[in-house]
Symmetry: D3
């Protein structure tokens, strides 16, 4: 467990804690000796660090995105805090709790995930609920679903963001479902749970949030399709039309071909998934922009890159 | 009050009821005498009618879209019912209840309107609620708001359709508002009530549903703006920023310039009004298409002109 | 085996042969007796047929797209040939050779398929060739690949059209590969073989060429992806990057998002597959148009629906 | 009245004049004392200024965009002129003639306005001329109409620019009207006078030229509509069709939905207003670019941001 | 010279006049004899005609778009006039005045052409005026320029339409030039004269107005370019930059790439040519639509195919 | 002939060679004396150079893009090589071999040109081959065709690039022609040779690769048209339809209006020219990007400006 956080480090005091390596460079000091120039981060901030007289023999190999344990001294360098490292050891990945190091949801992912599981328990018994159970109770999927952000930037770009986004959508869908009772509500909810499931492999989230090569070549829509198809294959007698419907919902959730959906929504439940997803993404992007600029002077925020406009602050 | 409906007319029996004139043509019979060839309609259907030996002296002048009282006999002409008219009198417009003659909402407009008024009563006291009250309690506006369709075709194209659409949106907005508590819910609701208010003058709905010339030249967005501005002028001290916000919501509710909104939504409440409006319109267009084609064979509906696609029937 | 073809039927002679049912209607004759009004077709043309005094007891049930054996007499009805049927029996599907009944490639599908298999034999040994072998030697896939058209209309819209299209592309690719030796030629060829493989399930081709419901909801790109993924799963140690590359080629082969590809080509081999596919489809559409209009007067063909233009006939 | 202009200031001489405050910052000198760092401007240029030993007690409060009277000394600081201020007093806004401080039309606004009034005097008597008189003789409107620029940049972006633009358009319209005698020339001229009238509230022009919040939320088209509607309300018996026509001209003057016009021109006079407006704006943008780059070497100007292209200099 | 016009033909009287052949078909009468079924037209209308007992030996060969001299009798056939032809002779093309047979400008082409020549006489002496003279005094060009329509439909689609359009543009340009004295007015006028000159070869106008094959393959912009280049080649020392400018004006006169201009206007004179051309074409299309629908009931015209909208009739 | 290349210059040794002037500035040294600050380049790189104590009397005038002969000394200035010039003379253009100074094709232009001439020798005798011969054997055209790049950047942006591109296309066309024997292969080859021939005047390539003013105003498509028309004029009896076809191929080779082609391909040979041109340009742009980034870490190249995407490196 992580001992001390960046925001609590004070100059002229010893430090012994774990950090995520943001960047690592091997440089040469003016005396000709090699040294490591690092940037370390955790959930609360980032701090530069130096390991003087660096030797590959005495320091274990590590890279950006690794978590390392550091012993050393916090110093004041040109008015800013900086760590002079004495010793580095590597943290075994299985002991690392990424939530200590990266931006994260405000909620408790475990609790949120239980909420999600609870929601599928009230589905009608049948192949759709079986599929949902099979997907969400897969331990590896559960692990990733709790971690994945919903995007690399713009909205829900933090650990647990995907889970938070999906829960929000289900709540909305239940409200909308009240109003349009002719909709197949279970199908909408299943579609919402699955629509972005490919993001668990489209994005990396053990360090910076970036696209994987598979993410760029294939994309989360089609990665998601393969995940769902694998789970369906394990359910004997899963109705082929239901499979087609779920696949269509995933394929069509961006709404239009030019936004990367190879099919436009062809039935009402697919349309609802698309609209709610779009609405929640945009509102969340707005909320973040307002939160960031609330205390800036003026009636307008800075330009929001996702919405490509400045936002008016309704006071 | 209307006596007999088209669907209850049976050949070889007298008729004495009121109908809306769908079309009217003066023709010449084979014996050289002029006669009137009419199509009459009410809520339940349409029926052809003839007035033989027509003379302008004995029959009052009337036109398509007028409601007339007819006395005559239902006959069987080539296998179909037709009225042989003996006498026509004109119904004074103030005695006509259009809901007897045109496609209409399933609900009771009076009750629906009370529901709408009830919703603004729970708004916070202040200029926004004052404006809503002023708009909705204007008797002429109330009369039109209960009658107006929300479109000439595609969705809510029936008497009371606008009112039904707005109530649906408010219900959705309240649900959505639960989920995004940072939204100014009263502003969203006010925006929803006002967004299509110009339709009361953009469309005619005393006969067929068509665009007025003012509707085509100016459009419901700008007609609505003028209506709102007139009401605001009567409220002393109405805050100018609030006026700007309401105007913006109305201007931006089509979401994009190419859909006729001269501004894109620049704050969250305007965005919500746009999304909910769009969602409800599209779902309602889908619902109607499904209702129409449910009993047709095949897994697909006919092509829906609003959505420009065939719809898959999720069984 | 089919006995007589439509083009060889002459009035006033008996007929005993098999035909595909294009359409079937049960009508009532002027004497009140039910009769069947059919349109029958084979590769060489279509002919109307009547079964008078039809009874469900004596005639086996069948539908449009079935192949039936017919005994009867060819008659002359208002100047055109027509069959008066005496007896109908059903052909067991396994005995039907669709190539006798539907528009078809000029080539011999069996031979063309051997050519295709021959082409993959010259691939470098390795997982790519293993995958190609696994896909093409699957008996059910082989059966469909020989039958499937490449489109419902416009180009290669006949039995064996897909196979013909793919062979054409491979020939082109080998020529292009000579010129750009840095391209991974095996990857291009594999991409060409797989790019439209989903058409075997997107389209029906046992009667008219139409889209299946799965075809409309999911599309041949994603159907193809699932087929390939299933085959890859059976090959131990298939390299994940190679899987991503093949999936990308399939996903990107329409070239642009607005043409239904959720990804644009991101490497050279994917670009080549897209260009060659596009070129061959368009040239083939042109060739058909020229063939059809060659003998019409004028320097221009009729408007080609695929290319949305009239074509100039270079003499 | 303004005493001395920036272009006439020379180092090492006293100064006593009024300037517009471009920017104002309170800084701390190396001796720890606060001082004001200002940029001052007038029509002829800009100059930095310092007020050392600044105290809120002895200097009246002011902001950017205010006009202040300054007493001090012009100094030479690192090769450039700069004012060392001794005393600041505030100019009462009613004594400020903005034309002394901001970029302005070459013409005399009073005379140009008289020209505009002269043009409406030759209109046929009737409601249209009454409306024009009512709008242009409103003293507040007259004041703003003489000041407003036609845009924040690109073309006519200077005091009096709107007036200059409108006069140019009327001259063009009269010429065009000669050629198309079937056009309603008064309607065209009225449309030209009103089309951009909302710019008087869309833009601020008492300092830098910027959008007001109302300008961004509502836009000059709809602000203009409200202004016109208010004036029409005061004219008894103003014909509703004429009102619709004028509103349509204003709404449609950008020509296309994607340029912010919610309606496309639906009659000839509206089309003419759109074309002339577009032509004059673009030619004026070109003229400015040529004027700026005439003496630069090369046959091409720099890229013009309004036209998004470099311009060729016809000799 | 043409003797009698279609509008003056009355049944039961002889006819001896010339007509343009609209269509010609050789049919077989019920008695087995061949006859010619013609449609004949002139400026005032069209009339069917029959030549019974047709023989190729006694009737000279002719085709649609030829002008023939006809002798015969006007008859009444089923309530409509029709010519029973006795004798057909061919009119030598050099004796045909097409203005007698096809829709035409109201003006006198010869006079209009003199007006055009007069306009170039007031140009400054120099290569530009030399070029204009060389183009317009070329007898073959003069002949075609007086005949050519400006389009096959929509606007100026009649003989002399191109000339009328160009003269209108020059008048406008002179008016516009007054207002923007910095424009090179001669260059604008030259550009206007040349911009559509390729229409003299893009369209056929000796019968119906259609595109030539060269027109479809190359287009009037590039045909015009070649015509101009040929004339320039004959003028020694024509300045190359001036040649580039004229070519650019022709190339850019459609304003945008998607309207078929391979270059957008890159200097002011090219922009003016584009705007005036566009304005005159659209106004002329409107004028025709108004003229056609003026006496129809309602405030709106039928849909105008060029402008893709219905037009409001400003009364 | 060039003596020494930039890559072979070493500090502290004399230099006597020719270089292309990349940039030239006259500056003032700290001692007040003028000096020339040059950047010199050849095929192998660039190097700064100084001529101290510069006088217009002793140094001949020259400009950027000229080739000069330099005598001087290579020095080490702040760690980088630089030439201290003693004497400059001008190289007569006719003695300059541009291939020594600018990026160039790997091939031998003379040999490549012979290859091109060889290809037209196998064309069928007739006007098409006559035209090709006439174009390619024109000495000035031959000179430029061997030098011209195919673009200013992105692909084939080096001396001989156009020739290399055209040869590549002909090879592809011959391969494609094998597969579609119904294509008029000579017409395709002629179209490929001519399609970009206007680039010889659209671009400058005696120094940096830039657009000429004529290139910007008229463009290579229309410049090419004029070149071809001139040559055709010299061939008696050249068939007009063939002229139209060639012109169409040139006009349509960008494929779409929005890419600057005023016509879309209207026959098969024009379509093939467009596709091959597009394919070769894109593949060549990819090949260059891969070559540049092959040794960079990561699976992706930098963003390619021509293709507007990062490219995946297939290993």
């Amino acid at each position: 467990m992580k001992a001390t956080f960046v925001k609590d480090l004070t100059p002229n005091s010893p430090v012994r804690s774990t950090f995520l390596v943001q960047s690592k460079e091997c440089k040469t000091a003016s005396n000709g000796a090699p040294y490591l120039d690092l940037n370390l981060q955790d959930l609360t901030g980032a701090i530069p660090a130096k390991l003087w007289d660096y030797s590959e023999r005495t320091t274990p190999p590590f890279d950006a995105d690794d978590v390392i344990a550091v012993e050393g001294q916090v110093e004041n360098y040109r008015g800013a805090a900086q760590i002079r490292i004495r010793r580095i050891t590597l943290c075994p990945p299985e002991e690392v709790n990424l939530f200590d190091y990266l931006p994260r949801t405000q909620g408790d992912p475990e609790e949120m995930y239980r909420e999600l599981l609870g929601r599928i328990e009230v589905m009608s018994a049948g192949p759709l609920r079986d599929l949902m159970t099979s997907v969400l109770e897969d331990p590896e999927m559960a692990r990733k679903f709790k971690l994945a952000p919903a995007a690399t930037s713009y909205h829900h770009a933090y650990l647990g963001g995907l889970l938070e986004h999906v829960l929000a959508l289900i709540t909305l869908a239940d409200a909308v479902g009240e109003h349009y009772p002719w909709l197949q509500r279970d199908l909408v909810v299943a579609g919402l749970i699955l629509h972005d499931i490919g993001k668990t492999e489209e994005l990396t989230f053990n360090g910076g949030f970036r696209y994987t090569t598979r993410g760029q070549l294939v994309g989360h829509i089609n990665i998601g399709l393969e995940i769902v198809q694998e789970k369906i294959r394990e359910i004997p007698g899963f109705p082929p039309p239901l499979k087609d419907q779920l696949e269509h919902i995933i394929l069509a959730h961006h709404g239009k071909l030019e936004f990367g959906s190879p099919k436009e929504p062809l039935f009402a439940e697919a349309l609802v998934v698309h609209y709610l997803d779009d609405l929640d993404s945009k509102l969340e992007a707005m909320r973040q922009q307002y939160a960031k600029d609330r205390n800036q002077p003026g009636e307008w925020t800075a330009r929001n890159p996702a919405l490509k406009r400045e936002l008016y602050k309704v006071e």
